[in-house]
């Protein structure tokens, strides 16, 4: 199973997909692409804080993905 965690005012909103379910994968990919276009950065994260990676494209086998709104300098 894959999980897309989209950071928002509620903490985060989750989209879960089964890599073997094409409809769920398509839905997760659509959310991923929409938010990337809006300036979000996608990170593939691993258990126990092992080094994350920036994702340029959606990967159904990514596992856990965090989408963060854009950053700004203070």
């Amino acid at each position: 199973m894959g999980t897309l965690c989209v950071m928002d005012t509620s903490g985060d909103s989750k989209t879960i997909w089964d890599p073997n379910n094409s409809d769920e994968v398509a839905n997760a990919r659509r959310t991923f692409d929409d938010l990337k276009r809006k300036g979000y950065t996608a990170y593939q994260v691993r258990e126990d804080g092992k080094k994350a990676e920036i994702m340029r494209e959606f990967d159904p086998a990514a596992g856990k993905v965090i989408l963060s709104p854009a950053m700004a300098g203070g």
Binding site: M7, G11, D12, G49, K51, I66, S68, P69, G74
Partner: protein
Amino acid sequence: MWYYGTDPGTTSTTTWQTWTSNTTTATAAEVYAWYNWSTGAAYQPAYISTTTDYSWDRWNPPENVLIRSLPTRALREAQEREERAAYEVAVERKMKAGKVAEELLLETMTPEQREMYEKTKRFHVISSEGKRFEVDCRGQRYHNVYELDAIGKPVVEHCIYQQGNTPLGDNYLAQKLLLECDEKRFRQIANQTQLIG
């Protein structure tokens, strides 16, 4: 004046004149009765500043405002109750969002980071370029990321934050992830302040 007469039902300047002209028990039956009353040192109300016939006219409206405002007050109190309830819901929602964000932050930490965070509300991050940073999670949204030197002393403060009014936990996680994955991009976005001493 309500104590001695009935509600005149008007706020015009003739109220006092009518009352003093028609009453049979008043000792003064002229318009100057009010003038004398309002200028008499022993009885002059402190809040009446005028000494003209219009004193009554000025004194009268606040009484009417008081009487007319009773339904308005009830309405205002109802509005205040609604606003208070909405505020409490918003506070509860914000607290819940803060917990959700903190859970996500903790899930993405190494055991060492988690231990330090739970003890000090700070944690260290090794950046993609191999440098050590400290993220201060004690409540600031920005001015909270410090670059550390070889002995762990803060040498540069980085000011960078997550847009979108997200909870603080999300903000700290975004700082952490960007540092871990792309320190160069982090430096391009953040404003830096060299720390002296």
